[in-house]
């Protein structure tokens, strides 16, 4: 079955399976996705993208679920992309975030997609950027990205979200750890969830003092207390998020970020495509591959690949010299 034309038709017809397949292609970095996205170009519009991250057990999924409810009440179409870690041994994954969102399972205005954090050629950022583009084209007003804040994936996801919400919770000592682990830098809004538990105020204090210790920023991340399980504090949370988005608009940061993102994306693609070609060349060209093995270091072979007719794409400082300078 040949894919992209049927896929575009299915996608346009609003068939959820078309969307789901397209996202799979994006995850697999299938080059044919280009044709689909270029075909859809006129219909592209960027949804609002909110990232949610926090340690396991902070109630992220419940919070996301509750927000979906709130946004649906405002007649917004919402997509959720939930990222879970893969097994370092097998590469497989158990993705279980849908469980908390099952009440939206049959709501046509909600789409939920689970992703493994690893296994994305070109990285999770690249896959999520493309997925967001597809979700926007499909008509979603909001994309909520959820990641477990224990590794690299939350940083990658924060890079593509307009607003990143860091979720903390009293007890278990995870809050302080999270703050130390550099999560601080990516937070645009803090949600202190399970705020009905003792110690919630203490978490708020901790965040506040951490914020005060850092440099003065144009945007000071607000701290919102929520009890997601009882849908409390959600309006306030959404309001904080909206304020942040307004801030991005009025300061021009939104446009700036969008431009940066697109540049990054183009550069990433160059890297990705070039890498594929290079690898293929090294596999196919026995002569080149022999020289590489003889050389025992990769530089000369890389330079050879990136140089045609005297024109080289190798950074100046890395280019070969006629004589090695000895110290």
């Amino acid at each position: 079955m040949s894919g992209d034309r049927d896929l575009a038709a299915e996608f346009r017809a609003g068939n959820v399976r078309g969307l789901a397949r397209a996202i799979s292609l994006v995850e697999q970095r299938d080059p044919t996705v280009r044709h689909l996205l270029e075909e859809l170009r006129d219909g592209l519009r960027r949804p609002r993208v909110l990232g949610f991250t926090g340690a396991p057990g902070t109630g992220k999924s419940t919070l996301v679920d509750a927000l979906v409810g709130l946004l649906r009440g405002r007649d917004q179409k919402v997509a959720v992309v939930a990222v879970d870690p893969n097994s370092p041994f097998s590469g497989g994954a158990i993705l279980g975030d849908r469980i908390r969102m099952q009440r939206h399972a049959l709501d046509g205005g909600v789409y939920i997609r689970s992703m493994g954090a690893r296994g994305h050629l070109g990285g999770l950022s690249a896959a999520s950027r493309e997925a967001i583009r597809l979700l926007g084209a499909f008509g979603f007003d909001y994309v909520l990205l959820e990641t477990v804040g224990v590794g690299q994936s939350e940083l990658e996801v924060a890079a593509v979200a307009d607003t990143t919400v860091v979720v903390l919770t009293p007890g278990q000592g995870d809050s302080v750890q999270m703050l130390k682990a550099g999560i601080m830098e990516i937070a645009d809004v803090f949600a202190v969830n399970k705020a009905d538990l003792p110690g919630a105020q203490k978490v708020v204090q901790e965040i506040r003092s951490m914020l005060n210790m850092g440099p003065k920023l144009a945007w000071k991340p607000p701290i919102v207390m929520t009890v997601a399980a009882r849908a409390e504090g959600l309006e306030e949370l959404l309001e904080a998020v909206e304020r942040h988005q307004q801030h991005l608009e009025t300061t021009g940061e939104a446009a700036e970020r969008a431009a940066e993102r697109l540049k990054d994306e183009a550069a990433d693609l160059v890297g990705e495509w070039a890498r594929r070609q290079a690898r293929k060349l090294l596999d196919d060209d026995a002569e080149l591959s022999r020289r590489l093995l003889d050389d025992r270091v990769p530089y000369a072979a890389a330079e050879e690949i990136l140089t045609t007719e005297g024109e080289s794409l190798v950074p100046r400082a890395a280019r070969s010299r006629h004589k090695m300078k000895s110290r």
Partner: protein, 529 residues
């Protein structure tokens, strides 16, 4: 450690076992007699000489009418206690005409939708003479209310009504997963029923704190022991918080354990359970009444140990497990039928299961001596080990801030999933053998006869509940549900009287549950795999 043939020498739960035990193991063992604190050796001085364990076979069929006929048959044949198994929709608090009840009605037990079904179920059964055990949890308060209203209609005062309600919601979150509300309101409902019975139905055993389902979900013996007792302490704490006195409710708490196939480990588990409970009740809670200290328990042989392959072997497995329960001093026992792994038991397989108990009681001599393994080097060492493992778990649970917090953090669920995966892996590598499954396999399995439920029974039940709704005094029913809703909204009010009134007005189980769901919300657990 493995044997020469590659099979693990540790217990089925992974506790290492020495090739031989010596007097070293019992050197510091204090002299202890059955019927004396801390009751390691049993709660009765005379063991089964005074009174045999109760042979309580759990049963329930499609409709209330068929089950009632079975009860009359059993009572005529000398059984004095009934045990009710409910179908899945009843267990999940929904009516038979709910869309998701389709295909489930009457499959695993009897369908009860309203007082009308309970009247049929208990028709002609004198509730002042017969005690009934009801295996139900999330909607337990509603089924208890139905039972009490039937008694009322028979003219039997509640003070003369006796029976047992499983009503153990905590293990639902931990293992069996038949929860409906979040843990806090669920706990409130359990404590409401304990408080109500302490006042109005003093002969009722309000909670049967269950390890059975924890074990069946794949836990180890030590986890079953520790998590069950931890649940018990959590109920005690909640009752005390409500302002009740320890000796007022503790004598009515009872336990329900699994008897798995690892013979010695199981006996050690039962012995350790009694000792731990007695010690904590006296030292931690200051209980005075001996009945508060004595852990009484029902046992069921392990459903998970049954195999669909060569099912006749299940008769032998069940006999070994039942013997462990008897030597461990159980108060009552259910032996599984050999085909229970496939469906509801047939008459023949159910009879063999009961006969197995009778053989143990009358032929084997096992009933003649109390705690016959007491003082055995191996048994005492294993009992102590069980106790230590349980105490270590209590520590970890308290680090989470108690059972409910540990549930919310997924602690129990993760421990059980890990244990069950470890065991499965051992089976895959044949480091454990299940005869007929991963070794000693026969190719020509004979199909065994299976009891099936007719689809007509489903439709009849659906029609019945609809008819109840048509015929009842709707205004009274609406009023009763409204007052229940209000009571649910005020945390200090006991919900039992309101549920009883709703039952009297023929509100259905699904309607009563639904009213509480409106106030309490639904619970979903996060994925703990």
């Amino acid at each position: 450690m493995r044997r020469e043939d590659g099979v693990e020498t540790s217990t089925i739960s992974g506790i290492p076992v020495d090739p031989v035990y010596t007097a070293e193991a019992t050197r510091d063992l204090p002299d202890e007699l059955p019927g004396e604190f801390p009751y390691t050796r049993g709660i009765h001085k005379s063991g089964y000489r005074g009174r045999l364990w109760t042979m309580r076979q759990f049963s329930g069929f499609a409709t209330a009418r068929e089950t009632n006929a079975r009860y009359h048959y059993l009572l005529k044949n000398g059984q004095t206690g009934l045990s009710v198994a409910f179908d899945m929709p009843t267990l999940m608090g929904q009516d038979s005409d709910a869309p998701t009840s389709r295909g489930e009605i009457g499959h695993c037990g009897v369908a009860i939708d309203s007082l009308a079904d309970m009247e049929t179920l208990l028709d002609g059964i004198p509730l002042d003479k017969v005690t009934t055990s009801m295996t139900i949890n999330s909607p337990a308060a509603i089924l208890l209310a139905m039972y009490l209203v039937v008694a009322e209609k028979q003219g039997v005062p509640w003070t003369q009504v006796g029976g047992t309600l499983q009503n153990d919601i905590l293990k639902e979150y931990i293992a069996q997963k038949e929860y409906i509300f979040p843990p806090q309101p669920s706990m409130r409902l359990v404590i409401d029923s304990i408080e109500f019975c302490a006042r109005e139905v003093p002969r009722w055993n309000t909670v049967s704190i269950s390890g059975y389902h924890i074990r069946e979900a794949g836990s180890t013996a030590a986890q079953e022991l520790a998590f069950t007792l931890a649940d018990g302490f959590a109920y005690v704490d909640a009752c005390l918080e409500r302002g009740m006195q320890i000796d007022e409710f503790a004598p009515r708490l009872s336990f329900f354990f699994d008897a798995h196939i690892d013979f010695f480990e199981e006996i050690a588990k039962f012995r350790a359970a009694r000792r731990i409970w007695a010690r904590h009740m006296r030292e931690r809670y200051g209980a005075q009444n001996p009945r508060s200290l004595q852990l009484r328990f029902h046992t069921q042989t392990a459903g998970v140990s049954l195999t669909a392959q060569q099912p006749e072997l299940n008769i032998a497995r069940t006999a070994v497990e039942a013997l462990a329960a008897v030597l461990g001093g159980t108060q009552s026992l259910h032996t599984n039928a050999m085909d229970e792994v496939l469906a509801l038991p047939t008459d023949k397989s159910a009879r063999i299961a009961l006969r197995t108990q009778q053989m143990l009681a009358y032929e084997s001599g096992a009933a003649n001596t109390v705690d016959p393994l007491g003082g055995s080097y191996f048994m005492e060492s294993l009992t102590k080990r069980m106790e230590e493992e349980a105490e270590a778990y209590f520590e970890r649970i308290s680090e989470y801030g108690g059972v409910i917090r540990a549930i919310e953090a997924g602690f129990f669920q993760k421990e059980i999933a890990d244990a069950s995966f470890r065991y499965q892996t051992e089976l895959e590598h044949k480091r454990r053998v299940i005869v007929g499954v991963n070794d000693f396999v026969t190719d020509d399995e004979e199909p065994i006869e299976i009891l099936r439920i007719s689809p007509q029974a489903e439709q009849e039940q659906v029609d019945r509940v609809r008819e109840v709704r048509r015929k009842r005094d709707q205004a009274r029913c609406t009023r009763a549900l409204e007052s229940l809703r209000k009571a649910a909204q005020s945390p200090d009010e006991n919900l039992m009287p309101h549920i009883v009134e709703a039952v009297r007005a023929y509100a259905t189980e699904g309607e009563i549950m639904g009213t509480m769901v409106d106030v309490f919300g639904l619970y979903t657990e996060r994925a703990i795999i």
